[in-house]
Point group: D2
Chain length 378, copies 4
């Protein structure tokens, strides 16, 4: 299943060391101008070769193979791609015979038999470049669709913790600072963790892990501001399920929370009642503990949650493994890896949020229901 979405349908393709990675987007409106520069800069944010990330150098220059003409979308499939460049496939040759624990190697072999072991093939996090391409378009579409009288939708994700080092949380800090964070602020930290006091320790922690051939897990917080109430669908289209499923489809993600998530489970109903109060754009909850959805549909409050990334399993220490013949072997991995995937993962989180919301925007558009009846807008 390489297609995602019901109304904005995204089909991704490409292996880590194949010719290209990309996405076809189907269901986009015709006549709408796509800003290529903006999209290029959006994609650049997840590029490897930045400090604190994998040393693999990829230009990730956007190519458009169909769907655009004279700067505007045709309403036909928009094909976006980037070529794969700096592929040191020889690094992976030994892995043809030996499975890396924690990676897709063995399960993919069990599933598919024939596998591309070079850099994980399609199981590589390289695959997420296609999601970011699509997410960038989704974000532009949401901006274009946005009702002009409402404050603009803002999607942002940042790193809350790397391993044991976590941005100290307080309700006050959240209310006054964190929930208002802009993407520019976040990107100004190479760790993507907006924690000035902890910055040095974080960088040291990451560099140390890299030096030791080790890695750290991390937690990402995401927000989507100014979403109106009423987004989401009943039952299998609940916002929580759509967002959670999308986020858990990102490589390395092992947990998601809407709002305070697991912390809610330890509390009383009377403690977490958020209330409902009038607001300038309609009613909204007084508090935002439950992440902005009630009954699976947005409630007019801040949409937000957390995502847990496991430590990348590419570590230099010896690990127990099994070879193609099923025999025990000791494994030691070479290669260029991110010391913590949450840093670049935050960009993928933003992309998936944008895709979920753009799909819903198209799903919910356009029956004008008035006293006189229903009208088809065209």
């Amino acid at each position: 299943m390489n297609t995602w979405g019901n109304y904005l349908r995204v089909t991704t393709f490409g292996e880590s060391h194949g010719p290209a990675c990309g996405a076809i987007l189907d269901g986009l409106p015709a006549g709408w101008p796509l800003d290529n520069q903006l999209l290029q800069s959006y994609v650049a944010r997840r590029r490897p070769g930045q400090p604190l990330t994998s040393a693999r150098r990829e230009e990730d220059r956007l190519e458009i193979w169909s769907g655009l003409w004279e700067g505007r979308l045709l309403g036909t499939p928009l094909t976006l791609a980037v070529r794969n460049g700096d592929t040191r496939s020889q690094d992976y040759r030994p892995l043809a015979q030996l499975f890396r624990p924690g990676h897709g190697d063995y399960p993919w072999r069990a599933r598919y038999g024939h596998c591309d072991y070079r850099g994980g093939g399609r199981a590589s996090a390289r695959e997420t470049v296609a999601r970011v391409l699509a997410g960038g378009v989704a974000e532009q579409l949401l901006a274009a669709l946005w009702p002009p009288q409402r404050p603009k939708l803002e999607i942002a994700a940042w790193v809350e913790s790397v391993g044991p080092l976590a941005l100290p949380y307080s309700e006050e800090l959240w209310q006054e600072h964190l929930r208002h964070l802009k993407r520019e602020q976040i990107d100004s930290y190479p760790t993507r963790c907006p924690w000035p006091e902890g910055q040095e320790s974080l960088v040291e922690l990451l560099n140390q892990a890299r030096a030791q051939g080790d890695s750290w897990g991390g937690v990402v917080v995401w927000v989507a501001r100014h979403l109106p109430a009423g987004w989401g669908e009943p039952v299998f289209g609940r916002l929580d399920g759509l967002l959670g499923g999308a986020l858990l489809s990102i490589p390395g993600v092992k947990g998601v929370e809407m709002g305070k998530g697991f912390a809610l489970a330890a509390q009383r109903g009377s403690q977490v009642s958020e209330g409902l109060i009038p607001g300038p754009y309609g009613p909204r909850p007084r508090h935002d503990w439950q992440g902005g959805s009630w009954g699976g549909i947005s409630n007019g409050g801040l949409l937000w949650g957390r995502v847990a990334f496991k430590p990348t399993p590419s570590i230099a220490q010896p690990q127990e493994s099994v070879d193609l013949e099923g025999q025990s072997q000791e494994l030691k991995i070479e290669g260029r890896h991110d010391p913590c995937i949450a840093l670049r993962g935050a960009v993928v989180v933003e992309a998936m949020i944008a895709l979920v919301l753009a799909d819903l925007a198209l799903a919910q558009r356009g029956l004008r229901s008035t006293k006189e009846g229903l009208f088809l807008l065209n």
Copy 2:
């Protein structure tokens, strides 16, 4: 979107106080005997009217409207339903004018305009009876499909905590007891929390909450034992995303973890490397910290995770709210509610796991790939 699944397609219908709730299952194999008794007893496990649950009395007697003949499936749509009985709709009359915070009332109104406020309508947890009907069939299908030479698939979910009271966790307890828990053992506790020492306190906590018109959140742990390596699909069909999306589509769920989930984010790659070792049914990880999937595909280890249920928002204390005209109002709710939805939610968790796995089973079946070529079976 009221249809779920790609190969086993489940469409559910029904409002809490409408005539019936049910599901159509499409994609089931023909000629296969459905055990109605077994299905009836499966559904009974989520029935309200048990101690520690809502007092609403529902017989939930299974009706089959199509797809079965002479005790065997026809391969045509299987329509299952239960009628809605004990609907005290008058309890909900005041809610026609006033939104309950934390419930779908206001978001649904924002989304749909016209809503069935009686017991939440389709936003009610009553809707999950249809999922359990479908999950029961999925579980029987998985049993029928299971390779006879493998130990049987076992799906089980139990309550780990209610509010602040949590079954004490230790790696040893997990290894020797919890991960082997059978459904019969779990069901022998009315709390569904397999914690003999804590049972009395849990019951007291629940009864107290009910007496106070309050509620508690809770955490459910689920396991699926003996799943072979190789289940799951690349990218948008990752096991983590499919399971997580399905679980977060359950009313009240606000967090999911695969394996140790968020705890993994605080650790080093070298700490959470599970290793890969030979096993009687093929290689498997030595540890099960990551929940049984690598690269989005099952790795031959235990598949498991956690689900966080928020406290049900139906509480007797006064809450801030807003009426249909957008004016602030104080709200006080009457009605019969579960003091902790995790107790019955555990059964819905099991049903969603069964649905995800049955859909995958049908997706992955049957191309025999040999040295001589691919053969179409049947």
Copy 3:
């Protein structure tokens, strides 16, 4: 595959002699009043037990199990059903052992193994009652959606020929009479063939076939008037393919034409050029030979075509057949059958046209594209 449509999704269920036949409609707008009386009368038009049709008596009384409250749709799944009544299953007992040529008996057995042979089970034309239920809702939805400034959409289908007897066609008759036919005019003929001079011969032909235990094929012509230009989607969503696929999914249909269809293949481009001229509601073709679509999208002209129904294969004459053991046997069928399925088939044709158009209406609704940008409506 028992679900049809992408935006208005219809899932049908039921076997000919099972408890009920029906449909779940998902994707309908909330708050819209459904006219049950109108729907009931719509369904009555395909009911058996009319003169010149099968003698099976079915009340086909509409039941609504979900999705409607206080007379208006909830936006949740709308479940519609009729119970199966006059099922003389014993008529079919001998067919358990012997396949009827031309019917689904043998292919279904080859496909499914286990089959419901009573009246064809789900292969029976009884299944089409669910399509007509759904088509009736689709037609009401289209009426509600229709732009008030445009003449109303009118869908009509009539019988053009029964076996060798065909309504004489002339371009003049078409232009002045046929293309304007109303459903009331069509229904005033028990043959649904609007041919006053031929009526007596048609009735005699049908009665004779019935008396002889034989049947006739027939051709149905359908029109959809006042469809604006611009309906349809590129490539796999071409109007021709959507309509043709829908019509060829009706039991007994063995041919479809858009406009003059096969006759176009015998002509020159210069002969069939329809021209494009200004019209009161935008440009439209001068002629309507190609059936109202160019490049797969409606062109503002009359949308129309033909459908060929084969003679029902339920005939009293002895036929060559094969039994369950694969041995040759002579077969003689008892039962109550339509002498020509095109008569009731015309109503199913109308229903499928309505479903295709309603699905497109929902697909194409609601992005307002203005000089200022795209706006999300609602």
Copy 4:
């Protein structure tokens, strides 16, 4: 909707004068060797630049961007493309202002607003190269899947008529010659009409049309030999509907018949009863008049039908038209066009048949149903 299929999902992209046209195939089995040479030669058969076709020269050289490694499929999306070369876009410049009747120009403008008028953009028959790429893979897959004990599946399509000149049909000629035609025999005629006596007249007719700037319609007959009984699905997955919908999605197709199609509508049930007789590979009908499906599912007989192509509307004669401002204008078209699209269309017909059958093959594979139970294969 640019994705086709449920199990083998094909997403096509590309405009006539854009950078490339291609397809992503999702759902293919891993480890299976794709024969690139064979695929290249398959695609070459629809290439323009052949005698009697458009003079546009396209090399149509296959590029593979993902999904293949070391000569074998990965089970990941297979991306196939050909670049667009000989695009004389300036020929189409005048069409930016004036709609060509019979082409998609005006309807696409009504639907999408913004259009690529160069060569029809995505409405061009150039789009079908992507279908043929996909169809070629589907055909190889079907061959690989085919049960070795059965005669091989053979799909073939030929031209039966060009305008008024039709290969004379007789039941004897059909039985002894036509139904057995091989693709090599068909391709040996530049007209793809296997009619030696009429060949000269056909060529003259086509050359004359080209010289006059005119075009002819044509009829294509297709067959799929040796399909077992039992392919197809109930109701919305009937073989007739799947095939008919696929064929009517080909540009220029205005009619389809299964078997004798419309001719069946003029006959009695007793005349068209095909009988059912034992055969070497299971029961099959004695005659093949109904096209090989009963009840929507294959019956073990020859699967076949007819497809009507309208004359290409690109003619040099002046035509009535309307410009962008809605004013009447006379139109005269330049450009390089096929005098009869049925010749190359036959290859697209074969490709769509292969896609339908490959999708069904994957849908129906692999539950082994035995007395002991159902088993999941691998």
